[in-house]
């Protein structure tokens, strides 16, 4: 991970964080829906509010991605976000066609994990909002 970053990249990080969080949330939402469907939960139907929310959050992330000003050092990071978004977009459209979109989610997750390692300031898991890990 880069030890020091320039001002342009810092500005990119600050804006991209929300976009990254939104993409993560969409991946989690769709995975959550798949779990409910897989275990036969009565709430695991296409009418579950999590799918509607995932579409809204995805649209917000997509708009934010388009408006990002990407510095040269941030390009690999941005590429990971774009690939994650593409996988999630296809996954979202698959929810209506009853296709298995778990591989797409796993692909998006891998891209987000790679993004979290490409620049500082991107966490895959909010440990600081958890119960058993306290930031030093």
């Amino acid at each position: 991970m880069t030890a020091e970053i320039d001002d342009q990249t810092t500005a990119y990080v600050l804006v991209a964080q929300t976009c990254f969080e939104d993409l993560k949330q969409v991946a989690g939402q769709l995975a959550g829906f798949l779990v409910l469907a897989a275990v036969g939960s009565t709430s695991g139907t296409p009418e579950h509010p999590v799918l509607k929310s995932a579409e809204l959050v995805y649209r917000r992330a997509e708009d934010a991605l388009k408006s990002l000003r990407v510095s040269k050092p941030a390009r690999p990071h941005h590429a990971h976000l774009l690939r994650a978004a593409a996988s999630l977009k296809t996954a979202l459209s698959s929810t209506h066609r009853r296709r298995d979109f778990l591989p797409l989610l796993e692909s998006a997750q891998a891209e987000l994990l790679a993004a979290s390692r490409a620049l500082p300031g991107f966490q895959m898991l909010a440990f600081d909002r958890g119960c058993c890990a306290i930031r030093k």
Binding site: Q25, Q29, A31, G32, V35, S41, H48, L125, A126
Partner: protein, 293 residues
């Protein structure tokens, strides 16, 4: 006292200085304590079972070590070897809740069937459908764990429990503690004599209890329930659940096992192995050799 199961608590990582206030409600500015991360290993009736599986070190080990002070992580194959088992030997795993340090390592147990409360899953998914300003409610839950859970469910290796389930293995019962530490926290009661009115019961409390003080307060001769510091549900529900836990072990607080309690090692036979893994032995079935020596 006849034991049908052998039980060990195995430590796989620790935080050397964790604020006491996170563990004990209201203990602000009262210092820090060592916080072990452990899982429970149970052997009996032809099964190796576990309560919780730890976290995904491959993905988060560096972050947890660098930013959160989590140390001395050991992989399950190394930890279980100290009890004479491999991860492949494990056939049943009871997930007390969906936080990363309890269900983050399911992929390391390829032959196990996992049990979790349906409420825990469905409420997390509900929380994910809320707007961004509610994101505190998602703290500690890893979407990657949820993806791995999909695979488990599709392969018939995930059992969603709705409330109470008796005898998931002979003498082992699962209990729901709704809206406590999390929405669908579960605790495990093991009746080691298999009797319905057991005089030899243990409870594995997950994160419903962190310390002995949660069970008895600061003055054991005048006990008081003090809830843990972190509740997704309510402190009231935690207090009422604490009473339920103690009733399940005839009031013997030492039989409510809190896997983050560092003093377990002082309450039961314990040893640190050559590669730094602590194993604490709670019970041995008849004929089972000690792993403590």
């Amino acid at each position: 006292m006849k034991n049908n199961y052998s039980i060990w608590v195995a430590e796989f990582a620790n935080v050397p200085n964790y604020p006491l206030s996170g563990l004990l409600y209201g203990a602000h500015n009262q210092g820090h304590t060592r916080l072990p991360y452990c899982y429970v290993v149970i052997k009996g009736h032809g099964h190796i079972a576990m309560v919780d599986v730890g976290y995904n070190h491959k993905e988060y080990g560096a972050v947890l070590a660098g930013m959160y002070g989590v140390r001395d992580w050991h992989p399950p194959h190394e930890v279980l070897a100290e009890c004479g088992f491999t991860p492949e030997d494990v056939s049943r795993i009871f997930l007390t809740h969906a936080h990363f340090d309890h269900m983050g390592n399911i992929e390391d147990f390829p032959k196990a069937t996992f049990y979790i409360q349906e409420r825990e899953l469905s409420k997390w998914v509900w929380a994910m459908s809320l707007e961004r300003r509610f994101r505190w409610m998602m703290g500690g839950v890893d979407p990657a764990d949820i993806m791995r859970t999909v695979d488990l469910a599709r392969n018939g290796r995930l059992v969603c429990v709705e409330g109470y389930r008796e005898n998931v293995l002979p003498g082992i019962d699962l209990h729901l503690a709704p809206d406590t530490h999390t929405w669908g926290s579960m605790y495990v009661r093991l009746r080691n004599d298999l009797a319905s009115s057991s005089g030899n019961a243990w409870i594995f409390a997950g994160d419903l209890v962190y310390l002995q003080e949660n069970l008895r307060g600061h003055t054991p001769e005048d006990p008081e329930y003090i809830p843990i510091g972190f509740a997704m549900g309510s402190q009231f529900n935690l207090v009422m659940t604490t009473d339920e836990l103690l009733n399940g072990v005839d009031g013997d607080a030492s039989r409510v096992i809190a896997i983050h309690e560092d003093r377990l090692k002082d309450m039961f036979p314990s040893r640190v192995t050559a590669n730094g893994v602590r194993v604490t032995e709670l019970a041995l079935a008849d004929g089972e050799p000690s792993r403590i020596g």
